[in-house]
C-alpha cells in the first residue's frame, strides 16, 4: 500500500480538487475513484481572510486525507507563506511544494524548490516536492529533509503522459527506498497505469478527471488503472525481448509450418 511519512493511504491515486463543474461532482469523483488523497490549492488571497472556508470544508468533509499545495507560487517566500497558511487551515503538516519557474511552461524552479524545502522541513512540514526527474535535485531535496519525491510526468495540465520514461526509470532505480509520486502531465488512465507498473508509489492528477466530459466516470477509470498498474508491478512483469519467443516448444513438432 502507498505509504508516505508513516501514513498508509487507501489508494495510490492522489486527486486534485480544482476545475470540477461543481463541488458535488468533485465529491462523486472522489467516491468513484477511491482516491487516497485530496490535494487542494490555497489561494493566498483567501488564506488570510478565510473567505474560501466553505469550499475547504467541502474538501475536508470528503473523508480523504488532505494534501494542501502551493500551486501557482513563483518564489520561495510565496511558497513558504502559502504552506504556513495551509498548515493552519487544514491542520496538517503535509504540503505539496510547488515553486514554479515559468508562467507558460509551469516548469518547476528546482533551485527555489530546494531552498523552500529546506525552510519548510526545518519548520516541521512533511514536504512533497514537485520536481523534475533530475537526480541531483532529488538528492538535494532528500538532503533538505524531504522523504518523498514527486517528479513530473509532463508539464502541468498538458495531459501528455510520461514524456521521459527513461529518466523516470533511472530515478526510480536510483532511489529505490524513497516513496515517489508521478505528479502532473497525466492525461489518461493508461499513463497512470504505466507509472504504477514502473514502480512508482502513487500518481497525482487533477485536470484529466476534472475536465473530462464525465468526471465521475473518468475518476472511476483512473482508480482502476492505478490499482491495475500497482498489481502488475507487484506481480513482477516479464522481461521484454527483442525477438519473438514462442510460448510452446517447437522441437518435437511433427511439422514446422
Amino acid at each position: 500500500m502507498a505509504r508516505f511519512y508513516g501514513q498508509d493511504l487507501g489508494s495510490a491515486l492522489m486527486l486534485g480538487t480544482a476545475l470540477y463543474p461543481s463541488p458535488a461532482i468533485m465529491a462523486d469523483a472522489f467516491r468513484a475513484s477511491g482516491a487516497g488523497v485530496a490535494t487542494v490549492s490555497l489561494r493566498r488571497e483567501n488564506g488570510a481572510s478565510r473567505a474560501g472556508q466553505d469550499f475547504w470544508s467541502l474538501v475536508s468533509n470528503m473523508g480523504v486525507p488532505v494534501l494542501p499545495n502551493t500551486a501557482g507560487c513563483h518564489t520561495v517566500k510565496e511558497a513558504v507563506t502559502t504552506a504556513q497558511m495551509a498548515r493552519e487551515v487544514f491542520d496538517t503538516p503535509w504540503v505539496k511544494l510547488e515553486v514554479i519557474g515559468h508562467t507558460d511552461t509551469l516548469q518547476p524552479d528546482v533551485f527555489g524548490l530546494v531552498e523552500a524545502a529546506k525552510i519548510l522541513c526545518a519548520e516541521g512540514f512533511k514536504v512533497f516536492p514537485y520536481t523534475t526527474e533530475d537526480l541531483i535535485v532529488a538528492e538535494r531535496l532528500l538532503g533538505a529533509g524531504c522523504e518523498v519525491l514527486m517528479p513530473w510526468g509532463a508539464p502541468i495540465g498538458s495531459g501528455l503522459g510520461l514524456t521521459n520514461i527513461q529518466g523516470l526509470r533511472t530515478m526510480r532505480a536510483q532511489f529505490p527506498d524513497v516513496p515517489m509520486v508521478i505528479d502532473a502531465g497525466i492525461g489518461l488512465p493508461s499513463h497512470a497505469a504505466q507509472a504504477m507498473e514502473m514502480g512508482f508509489d502513487a500518481v497525482l492528477l487533477n485536470t484529466a478527471v476534472a475536465r473530462a466530459g464525465d468526471p465521475v466516470a473518468m475518476a472511476r477509470a483512473f482508480g482502476k488503472a492505478v490499482e491495475a498498474g500497482r498489481a502488475a508491478y507487484l506481480a513482477d512483469p516479464m522481461e521484454p525481448s527483442d525477438m519473438a519467443s514462442p510460448s510452446t516448444p517447437l522441437i518435437g513438432k511433427a511439422f514446422l509450418e
Partner: protein, 324 residues
C-alpha cells in the same frame, strides 16, 4: 394571496413580477429601494446562453434556461444576436472539445466570422456560432422589473408590512444563515469603454480555467467577465484576475488596449454544492436560491416554479428536502 418577497436582486424581482402578474398581492422587502451594487446580479453578464453553459453545467440549466429569452422580452429588450465562441489558442482542439460538449451551434470560418463581427476580420480562422442565444443589459432589466412592479403598486420597502401570508426568501448569499449548504463563488468583472471596437454579440474566449467573455452594452461599452473563485469574498479584485481579463480583451482585439476602465465589480454568487438552484420550503418560508452564475438565465424558470407552487400547488422539480 398575500406574498412577501425578501431580496430585490434578480431572483426576488423575477419572483415578485411573476406573482404580481398572476394576480398575487406582493410586497418586496430589501434594505435598498432600488437595484444597485448591493446585489450580485448588478454585476452580471446578462448572457442568455444556455447552450454554451451546457459545456460545464448540468442538463436543467439548458432546459430551464431556454425559457429565459421570452420571459425577459416581456420586460426589457432582449438582443437575439447569438454567441460567438473563439479560441485564442493556436491549438484549436479546445474548440473541438467545446463543440463536443454543446449543441445548437454552427462551425464558422473566417469569412462568416467577418460577416458576424466585421471588426474581428482576419483575426480568427474558426469559431462556433450559437445563433439561438441572446443577451440583455442586467441593470436595465432590473430597473425595468422594478418600475413594472411599481406600476402595479409594488414598491421595495425596508421591512415587511405584513406578518401573515407567505414569505419567499430570495436573499442570495445573505441567506446562508438559513441555508447551511450555500456557499459563495467569487466573481470579478470589468466595464470598459472602447470606441474603436464594435461587437454585435457576446464573444466567449476559451480559457483553461474560467469562462471569459465580452458582452457589448452598446455605445462602445463592454462588460468583461468573469472569474470563478471558491471564495465568499465580495470586495477585492486581484491583479491576476484583472490581468487575465484585460489580456483576453487585448488578445481578442488590440484596440482594447486603449479602452477606458469604467468600473470594477466584485461579488460572490450564491451556489449549492451541485451549482444548481433550489426551491426549499422551510416552515412558512419558501427559499429560492443557489442560482450561481445563472441568475438572469434561470430566474424566469425559478419564478415560474415558485408561482406554480404558491398559486397552483404544483411541486417544482428543483424543490429539495423539506426542512419544515
Amino acid at each position: 394571496m398575500q406574498v412577501s418577497v425578501t431580496g430585490a436582486g434578480v431572483v426576488g424581482l423575477c419572483v415578485a413580477a411573476e406573482l404580481a402578474g398572476r394576480g398575487a398581492q406582493v410586497e418586496v422587502v430589501d434594505r435598498v429601494a432600488t437595484p444597485g451594487p448591493h446585489a450580485c446580479s448588478w454585476w452580471a453578464g446578462g448572457m442568455l446562453a444556455p447552450w454554451c453553459e451546457k459545456e460545464s453545467a448540468e442538463e436543467p440549466v439548458l432546459r430551464l434556461g431556454r425559457e429565459a429569452m421570452d420571459w425577459w422580452q416581456q420586460y426589457t429588450p432582449v438582443i437575439r444576436a447569438g454567441t460567438l465562441v473563439l479560441t485564442l489558442d493556436r491549438d484549436s482542439r479546445k474548440l473541438d472539445q467545446f463543440a463536443r460538449r454543446t449543441s445548437a451551434y454552427d462551425i464558422v470560418d473566417s469569412e462568416t466570422i467577418q460577416t458576424l463581427e466585421p471588426d474581428l476580420a482576419g483575426r480568427f480562422d474558426r469559431g462556433l456560432y450559437f445563433a439561438q442565444e441572446a443577451h440583455l443589459s442586467p441593470r436595465d432589466a432590473l430597473n425595468a422589473l422594478t418600475s413594472r412592479l411599481a406600476d402595479r403598486g409594488v414598491t421595495i420597502c425596508g421591512k415587511a408590512s405584513r406578518t401573515d401570508g407567505v414569505s419567499i426568501d430570495c436573499r442570495g448569499l445573505a441567506a446562508s444563515d438559513a441555508l447551511k449548504d450555500l456557499r459563495g463563488v467569487k466573481g470579478e468583472m470589468l466595464l470598459i469603454r472602447c470606441a474603436d471596437v464594435t461587437l454585435n454579440r457576446p464573444v466567449r474566449l476559451l480559457h483553461p480555467r474560467i469562462p471569459l467573455y465580452i458582452v457589448p452594452r452598446g455605445n462602445g461599452v463592454y462588460m468583461l467577465g468573469a472569474t470563478m473563485i471558491e471564495s465568499s469574498d465580495r470586495d477585492r479584485i486581484t491583479a491576476r484576475s484583472l490581468l487575465e481579463m484585460l489580456s483576453a480583451a487585448y488578445a481578442l482585439h488590440p484596440a482594447f488596449a486603449e479602452a477606458e476602465i469604467i468600473e470594477i465589480g466584485v461579488d460572490a454568487r450564491p451556489a449549492f454544492p451541485d451549482n444548481l438552484p433550489r426551491i426549499r420550503r422551510d416552515g412558512d418560508v419558501i427559499r429560492v436560491n443557489g442560482l450561481y452564475r445563472h441568475g438572469f438565465l434561470l430566474s424566469p424558470a425559478l419564478a415560474r416554479m415558485a408561482a406554480d407552487l404558491l398559486l397552483e400547488g404544483i411541486k417544482p422539480e428543483v424543490m429539495d428536502e423539506d426542512y419544515s
